[in-house]
Amino acid sequence: MQEDSPRFPWIALLIGLVIGIAGGLYYGWYLNPVDWVNIGPDKLNAEDQQEYILLVAEAYLQEQEIARASARLAALDTHDIAELVSLQADEALLRGDDPNEVRALTTLAEALGASPMAAEVFSGTTAPATLDEERTVTPTFEGIASPTPPTIGDTTDTPTPTQETLTPTPQIISETDLSLVERETVCEAGEGSGQIEILVLNRDEIGIPAVEVRVEWGGEDADTFFTGLNPGVDPGYADFSMVVDRVYSVTLVGLTEPVVGLDSSNCTTDSGEESIPTYRLTFSPNNNNDDATVDE
């Protein structure tokens, strides 16, 4: 008679484990998935994280405490906070978001040491606002700003207001600061014809993005858009496709008088083809209007 083998039933254990793990995973993933409560900002969805960053930036405008803003952003658990804020500022600029929001994000990004593209328009132009102030867009012609941003490492337990590091921009666009310096009419067939091409430059002839452009035609119809949506051409560039036989006008909203009489009636190219003309309008700060050249 042979004695029962004392061998351990490994196969049974393995089968049990496999079935158990499968069942446990199904329970943990589908039947009773983890329910997040009392989370930190790092667990927010992408949209709410962007809203959180915007809120930190807006609060920073009012509080002017970079240490506090940094601590709040650190809760997002992202390694490069400055770049994240900078990216969001640029995205907001290119989307044409509320200029106050773009300015808040830009100011915070700069304070964190980043150099967002949006800084070309909104750099260091802000001071803590009050309810009584009229909030206006304050683009500048100064390019990247002058403020020396405090870094996170510079902060102490009792952060000092950093307002003094933000140098108010000396030049603010007003209605008379920009003017049409060049108007060129081109009659060419093919792709690119029938456009109104707008270029807004600063004193150094660098394109200014996020300038609101309004095109009107037919008395009632209008379209509004911003420069900088095609940065591959120029940050200060924008264009608009015309339809034949209309008369258009172009205004840099709040910055210039309308440029009128942009007639899209067919013209004849050098090769004898019919085409819609293209208008190239260049705007620049109004040093002296006498030197403006307008080609009709």
Binding site: F8, P9, A12, L13, L14, I15, G16, L17, V18, I19, G20, I21, A22, G23, G24, L25, Y26, Y27, G28, W29, N32, P33, V34, W36, V37, N38, I39, G40, P41, K43, L44, N45, A46, D48, E51, Y52, L55, V56, E58, A59, L61, Q62, E63, R72, A75, N100, P128, A129, T130, L131, R135
Partner: protein, 124 residues
């Protein structure tokens, strides 16, 4: 046979436990969520930031929309309670002022807030 069955059951139990724990720790669904699931401390700080932004831009509709994201049953009561808590704890006076400004805008004024209510002509 009994021993084999016992081992099978033990394996099942251990596997189920391990699988469930792993499933909770490594979820396959998107675990990101909204402001309403924030820890109370973060909710409070979020509200303080809403107050600061409101003090800066004066946009009450925007402030209300932001407070609404917290999904508190009664945002007004939440702000009032938070303001009183901050006053009691002696927190940053600017934060308290901003919270009180929102509470007042909601139409609530309590005795502890009186010290932090700005006169209408100097409201920031």
């Amino acid at each position: 046979m009994q021993r084999t069955l016992l081992v099978l059951l033990v394996g099942l139990g251990l596997g189920a436990l391990g699988g469930a724990v792993f499933g909770w720790l490594v979820p396959i669904q998107d675990v990101s969520t909204g402001f309403y699931e924030l820890h109370p401390n973060y909710k409070a700080d979020y509200t303080v930031m809403v107050g600061a932004a409101y003090a800066a831009d004066g946009d009450w509709d925007k402030a209300q929309a932001r407070l609404g994201r917290l999904a508190e049953p009664d945002p007004a009561t939440y702000v009032v309670t938070l303001a009183e808590q901050y006053i009691a704890e002696g927190r940053n006076p600017n934060d308290i002022r901003n919270l009180v400004a929102m509470a007042v805008r909601f139409g609530y004024t309590t005795p502890p807030m009186q010290l932090y209510i700005s006169p209408p002509d100097s409201e920031q």
